[in-house]
Symmetry: C2
Subunit: 226 residues, 2 copies
């Protein structure tokens, strides 16, 4: 059997000669169960203390089968990563008329990273829980940062694709700057005890800071937004 994580959710789409019906819904069901039981066990007894065997038996599958759904134990928590990245890439693919690169980038970030995932019910439910877990566990943090890194390289290419006149490395620098600012600002705000609303505000503020240029930092600041 070739692992499911390669097929992703292609098979849920109608059309395309793949096997439609019952098989897929069952797969989605167990996938769903794996995620929920994993998150529950992680929060109950800690990430490291929870074994794959426990998660699997809770979801009523064999431990071996776990690895048909997720490549690693960490990946269970990042199930919606591809979806979110796809949304950001989609936004980058359609710049508005006369929209400057940095503005498009800002819009893509705010819409995908910061927006509540209204369509994905599962992601919305587990959002805060997952944030807490990732923050607490170094291994999960490292995994998230690595995913984010790969994402940024893709975003850079997408931005370069939308503005062919924009140098690829410049696009990469822009993406890195904005994502980096948001990431560290949010983490710092969170560590300072801010609630999630304040964290989001800090992230938005960080984006605008990068747009204006850091040189404006120590100074009276010309027309700061919001």
């Amino acid at each position: 059997m070739q692992p499911l994580h390669l097929l992703a959710r292609c098979s849920t789409l109608p059309g395309m000669g793949g096997t439609p019906g019952w098989r897929e819904t069952k797969k989605q069901r167990t996938r769903h169960a794996l995620i929920q039981h994993a998150v529950r066990l992680f929060t109950e007894q800690g990430y490291e203390a929870t074994t794959i065997a426990e998660i699997s038996t809770a979801a009523e599958i064999s431990p071996r089968t776990f690895f048909s759904y997720f490549r690693t134990k960490e990946d269970v928590l990042f199930f919606d990563h591809e979806t979110r990245m796809a949304r950001a890439l989609a936004i980058l693919a359609e710049p508005r008329p006369d929209e400057a690169p940095a503005r498009l980038l800002r819009r893509a970030l705010l819409d995908s990273v910061l927006a509540e995932s209204a369509d994905n019910q599962l992601a919305a439910e587990l959002a805060t829980t997952r944030t807490a877990l990732v923050n607490a566990e170094p291994a999960l943090q490292a995994r998230e940062l690595h995913l984010l890194f790969a994402t940024q390289r893709e975003l850079a290419h997408a931005l370069h694709g939308a503005y062919p006149g924009l140098d690829l490395v410049d696009a990469a620098a822009a993406v890195g700057a904005m994502v980096g600012a948001v990431t560290i600002a949010a983490a710092t705000a969170r560590a300072a005890g801010d609630d999630e609303d304040a964290v989001r505000a800090a992230a938005r503020h960080a984006v605008d800071l990068v747009l204006d240029g850091l040189d404006t930092l120590g100074r009276p600041a010309r027309g700061r937004r919001r």
Copy 2:
């Protein structure tokens, strides 16, 4: 025995009632040997294919003792992380008169991250080799990104300490922006086939881009530096 990586290099400093002489030099010797043999084996036969047993026997110690020198197999390659971070923090601790926050930050980054480690001979020798290894191995990339993340939070606090009027979260955003821009720009340049000099140039350019503000990207650009 309490693990050595907690004591770090404190014991090499003179003074402080610790045991001075022969013991420490021997420890440094084996540590050195571990690093060099690890890098050699990694490049010869790949990171994953190299076992801790191989590294240990090459350095003439027991496999068990490896973990007294490094917490994980990955950490062997990041032996100079603390040194470099310390240098950046030291620079941030001493701003020049009338130096704006972003300028100090720029100086700290260029001096610590981009500067050749002239003092540390071992690090200079292995720099390029290590870069190649980290780029090739996802696990190493993740570890490096995590170290970098933790570093940025410390840098943010240092910057805030140097400019008490500067909001901590703003400082964090600034650090994240610059480090993020440098990281992704350098990675992209490297992936495009640039040599190390071009990569460094791209990194410096990224820093200046962030200083000016990303809003200047699509435009004719007022007075770009260098």
